[in-house]
């Protein structure tokens, strides 16, 4: 059992190297290598989970000493405790299912988008898995930073996977730069930690923190604030959230794995991993809670106005991650990580069924278009999609009792009430209400038979083949999104709060009612008429407000005006290097001036020479007398 952690990481590493070095491979071989590595990694992850279940002792695995100079000692160590076991299982499990699904998805997609290499896709995906595993397993901050920046880079590569379309490239660029800003603040936070505690080891930090008195809290605030900036950029919270919506141009399995289930939640993971630090920084924690609430509200409202299915899902991801941040803000670590897990299940389900739907509906992502094409599919398939979306959507909107989302999200809302954050509780409830409306709006618009005004019948000549690599992930995720998913126990210490059964029941009932009311309202509005919905909203709110809502606060516009345009202006005015200009125009001219003066002196006129000579002698004699 000693070397199991390295084995988990080894397979993605090997497959990455294989896929990078061997370029010309058949698609089947690429799929076997790409998925096989994750399969073997997952097997070891499950073994690890069993082992940890039987013997729940955290342990450390030393690989080698990475950097050791003077007093800086950084080891390449992996560390396992309950938190990392959970995350490893989520990442590996969801990763495996999505890898499997993407063999189907990408092969289907290549019929539509030609000339892209499949091996490149699996190379990036496996590299992502490797970095994510390092991020989770790393026991010191530098190793975390390695994984942290690695996943960011892989996300960039995968967003701009269809590199021929300029928009995709720009979206990837935006994602990378935004997360990179956060990464640098993260690094600065690490520097602060080093100055303060002289170590990078998380476990050593933990022991040092347990010895601390709660004094000089400004420094901890500073450290926590830097880390917070890092996490909000990676987890796409306001105001650094703008990249996530654009990131949806990547292939859908990528959106499912990276931009919904795993990488987005790595910020949450990091804060929980170093929660002892954040506990000493109440102001930062409050800020995190505030950011979470703002994000969950704004993203939810924005989802009401979106028409692209992937963008709707991205907005819902934002708002769900907002819930996780709220949970962090109220120090409900266990609830946060539980929501990370459940969210990974149902969001992966929603994304891959959306991906499959998009493929079936002629690669259109607009829900209004999907509706018109949808009816041309055969009846069984339609029912299957409907089923998937209803289960996934009700998990997302936390339909009481039967779905997994209920148990995770309700817990956060409940804990905020119990811990006395009444405002957050209310915002959480409003968020849940909005969530249920936009989720069922999407579902009802897409699958509603009543409104068939714009139906265009396509003759689907080649029916798609839905093989096991398409069906199995959907099936497993379907099961996990229901009540059964919430039965999975997290081997972590629960936070100690005074549970009051009456309050609990009362809160649960209130939020259940709110969710059901939301769904009913959505049904009332969208089941019978949708046509004028957007127009009405526009008339009521005005175009500007609608635009701000649509772009989630209009931060993009702000950044373009405040950062990008000034920078481009700066670049333009200094295009030809002003220093060269100065040298060419001033120094060269001075030298030229002396040159002309000297040539005038040297003119061949004997009497001029003689005059100069005599003047020179007289001045030098006078000078010597004076001196």
């Amino acid at each position: 059992m000693k070397k199991i952690l390295i084995l988990i990481c080894l397979f993605p590493l090997i497959s990455t190297l294989l896929l990078a070095s061997l370029r010309c491979m058949s698609k089947i071989l690429v799929c076997i290598i790409g998925v096989g590595s994750i399969v073997s990694s997952t097997i070891f992850a499950i073994l690890l989970a069993f082992y940890y279940y039987l013997k729940p002792n955290p342990f450390l695995e030393h690989l080698y000493s990475w950097i050791s100079i003077y007093d800086v000692k950084i080891n390449f160590n992996f560390y396992i405790d309950g938190l990392s076991v959970v995350m490893i299982c989520i990442v590996n499990g969801i990763g495996l299912l999505i890898h499997l699904f993407s063999t189907w998805y990408m092969c289907e997609n290549f019929k539509y988008k030609k000339d892209y290499l499949l091996s490149r896709f699996f190379l990036y995906m496996n590299l992502f898995m490797l970095n994510m595993l390092i991020l989770i397993l790393g026991d010191n901050l530098i190793l975390l930073l390695l994984g942290w920046e690695g996943v960011g880079f892989c996300s960039y590569l995968l967003i701009s996977y269809y590199y021929r379309v300029y928009n995709n490239v720009i979206s990837g660029f935006k994602a990378f730069i935004t997360t990179r800003i956060g990464d640098l603040f993260f690094a600065i936070g690490i520097f602060f930690v080093w100055i303060q505690f002289n170590t990078f080891d998380i476990q050593q930090l933990l022991t040092k923190f347990s010895l601390l008195n709660n004094t000089n809290s400004f420094r901890y605030e500073l450290i926590a604030f830097m880390f917070m900036l890092g996490t909000i950029s990676k987890s796409a919270q306001i105001p650094l959230h703008t990249w996530l919506i654009d990131a949806m141009v990547g292939p859908t399995p990528v959106s499912a794995l990276i931009h919904a289930a795993t990488m987005i939640t790595s910020g949450v993971y990091f804060i929980i991993r170093t929660h002892f630090l954040f506990e000493l920084a109440p102001i930062t924690l409050n800020t995190i809670g505030l950011i979470g609430t703002i994000t969950l509200l704004l993203a939810g409202i924005s989802a009401l106005t979106q028409n692209n299915i992937k963008r709707i899902l991205a907005c819902s991801t934002l708002s769900q991650v907002g819930y996780m941040f709220v949970a962090i803000g109220i120090k409900a670590w266990h609830a946060a990580i539980f929501h990370v897990m459940i969210h990974a299940f149902f969001k992966a389900l929603l994304f891959i069924s959306a991906g499959s739907l998009i493929i079936s509906c002629k690669h259109s992502q607009n829900i209004l278009k999907i509706r018109s094409i949808f009816l041309s599919l055969s009846k069984n398939i339609r029912i299957a999609y409907y089923f998937c979306f209803v289960i996934g959507g009700s998990a997302l909107s936390a339909l009481p009792i039967i779905t997994a989302g209920f148990y995770s999200k309700e817990k956060i809302i409940l804990l905020s009430k119990i811990s006395g954050y009444n405002k957050i509780w209310i915002v959480g409830l409003v968020g849940a209400f909005i969530t249920s409306i936009y989720t069922f709006r999407t579902i009802l618009i897409m699958f509603n038979k009543n409104i068939n005004k714009f139906i265009i019948f396509f003759n689907n000549q080649k029916p798609l083949i839905y093989n096991v690599s398409h069906n199995l992930p959907l099936f497993i995720l379907l099961i996990l999104s229901t009540y059964l998913g919430s039965l999975i126990k997290i081997p972590m210490q629960k936070e100690i709060t005074m549970y009051n059964i009456e309050v609990e029941n009362c809160c649960n009932i209130i939020s259940s009612i709110i969710v059901i009311v939301g769904i009913t309202i959505a049904a009332k509005i969208f089941l019978f008429s949708n046509v004028y919905y957007m127009d009405i909203i526009e008339v009521v709110l005005g175009k500007l407000v609608l635009n701000i809502i649509y772009t989630i606060g209009g931060f993009d516009w702000l950044y373009i005006k405040l950062v990008i345009i000034p920078y481009l202006y700066l670049v333009r005015i200094n295009k030809f290097d002003c220093i060269t200009f100065i040298i060419n125009n001033i120094i060269n001219k001075v030298i030229l001036f002396f040159y002309t003066v000297m040539t005038k002196l040297h003119n061949g006129n004997l009497s001029f020479y003689l005059t100069i000579f005599i003047v020179g002698i007289i001045t030098s004699l006078l000078m010597s007398n004076i001196l």
Binding site: W66, S68, I69, V169, I177, I188, I195, R572, K575, I583
Partner: protein
């Protein structure tokens, strides 16, 4: 004795390949290659010796040269110079392999110049006598001048003169400084000596010391180069031989960084320390200025030049921070940054071979077209970005970490400069490799065996230094501790 061999082998090899040209071109190529291989073996042997001794100086050699002025042929090698020598030998080897295909005119003379540049670079690294240091510093200029003026592209004579003037100014300032140092030492001790070891302990007045330190600083700053003395580099880079084998060696080797480390910090630790904040501000300006200009460039090689200026800002900050961490980081960063930009320059040469241009406006959509080139370019960009796992990250991280204790504000500002680095380097990738294919007349030549090998070796070295940097640390930690302790004394 081994050091003397080390010093003379490249010069002799250069002469040999010059004379073999008359007989057969292949002989002169082989002799150049063979010289480099001998040098590589010797330097690896020296590394082996270094790891097995506890002395700071691994090997020394000292004999009288000009008795009257106290000038000795004093050579010595320690960890710092050894790692720099190793880097330059590896790069020399790569550039000779590159030039096999590229250079077709006056081959013997080309290798003669190349090996003489290399020899004088090694001389600079080994010299422990300031006169000898100056001697090699000056020798280095001439072969470089001839190479630019003979094998360069358009306006090559003008550019060669520009290069010559700039480096001569640097040389003259160095000369004046060193002579002043020696003479003022002579007034105090009554002993005329040029030797580093005895000048280290020279008693020099504070004001003179500051002036001398500034002289050294300016002289090295021109060669490094940093803002505002950088304008020669973009021109020289852009107009150098088309396939870039020379950029690798003449320009990329950071003899100036070594000089700053060895002479500025070694001879004037106190003055350097008091000057450090100003030097760091210059470094920050370089970082931002270079990065902004790199973003606006259309010529790939000019872009590389400005990116190099931007990176040198970090090296400057690392050196002037002068504690163990940041010095070690600076060396690490010089090594792996040199390797990564060498890789990118080789790639730009390969692109030139296929597209006949360095202008990024005429490129685009090359991904999936040119075999493995885009893949290599992407991975090298990853290193330029300073992502963890590459040597560049280790270097930058250690520089900033070491600097943070004393100058937190400077560290924060300079680390945010990495955002601009990301912007221009990813922009390069986008413009060249992503998007739709613009160039119709694309010669789709796949890489040959040796090119793939060169690029793979560079990548391998970068990732090795990222994941197992301890090999480089072990090499140089002893002498770095020695230098850092001297400055620590003045804190």
């Amino acid at each position: 004795m081994i050091l003397l061999c080390f010093l003379f082998i490249p010069f002799i090899g250069g002469l040999l390949s010059l004379s073999f040209e008359k007989i057969n071109i292949k002989y002169s190529r082989c002799s150049a290659l063979f010289t480099m291989i001998i040098l590589l073996v010797l330097s690896i042997y020296l590394c082996y010796l270094n790891l097995n001794t506890t002395n700071i100086w691994v090997v020394k050699y000292r004999t009288i040269w000009i008795d009257r002025f106290g000038i000795y042929l004093n050579l010595a090698v320690d960890g710092i110079s050894l790692s720099m020598v190793l880097l330059s030998v590896v790069l020399g080897l790569l550039s000779i392999i590159c030039s096999f295909k590229e250079i077709n005119k006056c081959i013997g003379l080309f290798y003669f110049n190349l090996l003489w540049i290399l020899g004088s670079i090694i001389g600079v690294f080994l010299a422990m006598d300031l006169f000898l240091f100056l001697f090699f510093w000056e020798i280095m200029i001439f072969p470089m001048y001839f190479i630019i003026s003979m094998w360069g592209s358009a306006y090559k004579e003008q550019i060669a003169i520009k290069f010559f003037i700039y480096t001569q100014i640097s040389g003259v300032i160095l000369l004046i400084t060193i002579f002043t140092l020696v003479v003022s030492n002579f007034y105090v001790t009554g002993k005329l000596t040029f030797e580093y070891q005895s000048l280290v302990n020279a008693q020099i007045g504070d004001k003179v010391g500051v002036l001398l330190m500034l002289g050294l600083f300016i002289s090295f700053a021109i060669k490094l180069p940093i803002f505002p003395l950088h304008t020669w580099l973009p021109d020289v880079m852009a107009k150098n031989p088309k396939y870039g084998s020379l950029d690798l060696i003449g320009i990329l080797i950071k003899t100036a960084a070594y000089g700053l480390l060895r002479l500025n910090l070694g001879l004037f630790p106190k003055q350097s320390l008091s000057f450090a904040p100003y030097a760091m501000i210059v470094g920050i300006i370089s970082i931002y200025y270079g990065a902004v200009l790199a973003f606006s460039q259309r010529n790939i090689k000019r872009l590389m030049a400005y990116s190099s200026i931007s990176h040198m800002g970090y090296v400057l900050i690392g050196i002037f921070s002068s504690n163990i961490l940041s010095l070690q980081g600076a060396i690490m960063f010089v090594i792996s940054n040199t390797l990564s930009s060498a890789g990118l320059i080789i790639i730009s040469g390969l692109l030139y071979e296929r597209l006949n241009t360095f202008d990024i406006r005429f490129m685009g959509g090359l991904f999936g077209k040119l075999g493995a080139i885009p893949g290599f370019a992407l991975s090298l960009t990853l290193a330029v970005l300073g992502l963890p796992g590459t040597g560049n990250f280790i270097g930058e991280f250690l520089i900033l970490l070491g600097n943070f204790k004393l100058y937190p504000k400077i560290t924060i500002i300079s680390s945010l400069g990495l955002i601009l680095t990301a912007i221009y380097s990813l922009n390069l990738i986008h413009k060249v490799y992503y998007g739709k294919t613009k160039n119709k007349a694309l010669k789709n030549i796949f890489l040959n065996f040796s090119e793939v090998n060169i690029l793979s070796i560079i990548l391998f070295l970068i990732f090795i230094s990222g994941f197992y940097p301890q090999i480089i640390f072990d090499l140089s930690i002893k002498s770095i501790t020695n230098i850092a302790q001297k400055t620590m004394f003045f804190y």
